[in-house]
């Protein structure tokens, strides 16, 4: 299998996903199968090929520097799970 359990845990940490032990095992199998399948891309010679990141515009449009009012504060916060002092409240960042 191409992925180890430790690698699965590492990716889950990078992606900030809490996984159960059972999920880790299942994902390890499934992701390995997909990655093995994806490895066939290695057989394509792309030495002189440039990547396609954008299929349409050749260049980004530029916006004039004219400020416009955004959302009222109440709408900025209207979907927030927890609000305090007109800010988004989250559990403390520092290690407890």
């Amino acid at each position: 299998m191409s992925l180890t359990l430790a690698e699965v845990e590492h990716i889950a940490r990078l992606a900030r996903l809490e996984l159960s032990e059972e999920e880790k095992i299942r994902f390890r199998e499934q992701l390995s199968a997909i990655l093995d399948y994806a490895a066939r891309l290695q057989e394509v010679d792309t030495r002189n090929i440039s990547p396609t990141a954008w299929t349409v515009n050749v260049q980004a449009p530029l916006r004039e520097d004219v400020p416009a009012q955004g959302l009222p504060t109440s709408e900025v916060l209207s979907n927030a799970p927890q609000v305090q002092d007109n800010q988004f409240r989250v559990p403390p960042v520092l290690e407890g």
Binding site: H10, R13, L14, R16, A53, W54, V56, N57, V58, Q59, A60, P61, L62, R63, E64, D65, V66, P67, A68, Q69, G70, L71, T73, V76, L77, Q84, D85, N86, Q87, F88, R89, V90, P91, P92, V93, L94, E95, G96
Partner: protein, 489 residues
């Protein structure tokens, strides 16, 4: 005993002076003053389905800075996603530039004790700022709060090569860059408000070595003073370790202002794999040669060019030149004064601008913008002083009134009858009168108390209400007093 040298590079982020944010039209507000979350829209809040659109003015300002630094501009540059999680990062990634930045390979000249040095600039690129996270301990609760006013504000990142060798050089680099940013009106450069953020990377190696040692990065410096001290401290720490044969660990440290030490800030949770990839929502940024040339042609005189010109062409003292250059508005004023001068030398203007004028501004809490004095009027005052119409002392008073009333020098002089008198007979009569009316002091002078010369001088100036030509008064007084001493009456 092995000698060590410090190898320092600086990574600087400057908030650009645009009116709207980098990728949306929200107004840029002072996030240290505004109410929280008043300048936020779905785009900078990272709400689902929203997309970025590049602010043209941010690109213009970035090009201005890059060209002033002599960088090579990439006609095509690419935005990239820098992926990490943090509560003040709404999208869970920051839109920045990675493999293909806007500009590379520039120079920032700095003045050191041993002369000018050229510090190489590795790259200049655009990115967006994060929101603000604050930590609260209140009523037994501990939590953090997020304000998104600052999220999406345009930032210019300027990265130097590790060419700096001392804390003093680091400070000089930072100050020069700040002046440049202000001269170009690209950023306020205000470190205390977070508009200029400086992160030094410091390593130490045996002098003469060409390999690089392990780097330590310092974050959260709020002033040039902390910057210089923190760098100096960190150099000491590393030299100490290496001298003892210890290893320097790669880490990020913060600066404790109170204790004046650096302390480790290594974050345990975040593994820093940013997984950069080109931003699919933004096609490449294309900058035409015409656009670049028009910006280059419109560049003002750069601070180091101006400083050299002041010293070499105008003969200013280096300290005065540096002082003028450090305040672009003041230097602009000075240049216009010099342009209007007919008799007075530029050096005099420099002394007056950096001395009297600044003093007047400070005491009245004014700035050049609200000053009612025009550069031409100022030049006129200096010319009249050199021509002898008024003396220096009088001129200072006239300047004060010019600042307050906005009236031209000629009018003030006429209204207050301030014209200096240079009539030798009149001066001789006043001097004689002062000596005659103060026999006790004259006796003391004859007995050796020569400091009374200044007292006599003051009396003459008082009697003439300051209008007498000081030079002539001194000459006359000297002559008379010498006569007195020799015993002639």
């Amino acid at each position: 005993m092995v000698a060590f040298e410090a190898v320092i590079g600086l990574e600087i982020h400057a908030e650009l002076l645009t009116r709207s944010k980098m990728f949306c039209s929200c107004p840029v507000v002072d996030s240290t003053q505004a109410e929280p979350n008043v300048a936020v829209c779905p785009i900078c809040a990272g709400m689902p389905g929203t997309l970025p659109v590049i602010n043209r003015q941010a690109v213009e300002l970035a090009l201005r800075v890059a060209l002033a630094l002599g960088c090579q501009i990439h006609p095509v540059s690419v935005f990239a996603r820098k992926n990490y999680f943090y509560p003040d990062l709404p999208k869970g990634y920051q839109i920045s530039q990675y493999e293909q930045p806007l500009a590379v390979n520039g120079i920032l000249p700095i003045e050191t004790e041993s002369g000018w040095r050229e510090i190489r600039i590795r790259r200049v690129h655009l990115e967006e700022d994060t929101g603000k996270l604050s930590h609260v301990h209140a009523d037994g609760e501990v939590y953090s709060l997020v304000d998104l006013n600052r999220a999406g504000v345009p930032l210019l990142e300027i990265v130097s090569e590790p060419d700096l060798r001392s804390a003093q050089e680091v400070r000089a680099y930072a100050q020069t860059l700040r002046i440049l940013l202000r001269t170009l009106q690209a950023s306020s450069g205000d470190m205390e408000k977070g508009a200029l953020r400086i992160e030094p990377n410091i390593s130490v190696r045996p002098a003469g070595s060409s390999t690089l040692g392990t780097r330590v990065e310092i974050k959260n410096l709020n002033s040039f003073r902390s910057l210089e001290r923190a760098v100096a401290y960190q150099i000491e720490v590393q030299v100490g370790k290496l001298s003892r044969g210890e290893v320097v660990e790669q880490e990020t440290v913060g600066w404790d202002e109170a204790q004046e030490i650096t302390f480790s800030q290594r974050s345990k949770e975040e593994a820093h794999d940013y997984r950069y990839f080109p931003e699919p929502d933004l096609p490449p940024l294309v900058v035409t040669p015409e656009w670049v040339e028009s910006i280059r042609a419109a560049l003002p005189e750069l601070p180091w060019e101006r400083q050299r010109r002041y010293v070499e062409a105008l003969g200013l003292a280096p300290a005065e030149a540096r002082l003028l250059v450090s305040d672009p508005a003041l230097a602009d004023f000075f240049d216009r004064v010099v342009g209007a001068l007919k008799r007075a030398p530029a050096r005099m203007a420099a002394t007056w601008v950096t001395g009297e004028l600044l003093a007047r501004l400070n005491e009245q809490g004014q700035t050049l913008e609200v000053l009612r004095l025009s550069p031409e009027g100022f030049a006129d005052l200096l010319d009249r002083t050199v021509e002898g119409q008024i003396n220096l002392n009088t001129a200072k008073g006239v300047l004060q009134e010019m600042c307050m009333s906005g009236k031209p020098a000629v009018q003030i002089i006429a209204e207050r009858g301030l014209e200096q008198v240079s009539d030798p007979e009149w001066i001789a009569r006043i001097v004689a009168q002062v000596l005659r009316e103060n026999p006790a002091e004259l006796d003391k002078y004859r007995s050796g108390k020569s400091t009374l010369f200044n007292w006599f001088y003051g009396q003459v100036m008082r009697l003439t209400r300051g209008k007498a030509n000081p030079q002539m008064v001194r000459e006359e007084l000297t002559r008379c007093l010498e006569d007195q001493v020799r015993g002639e009456s």
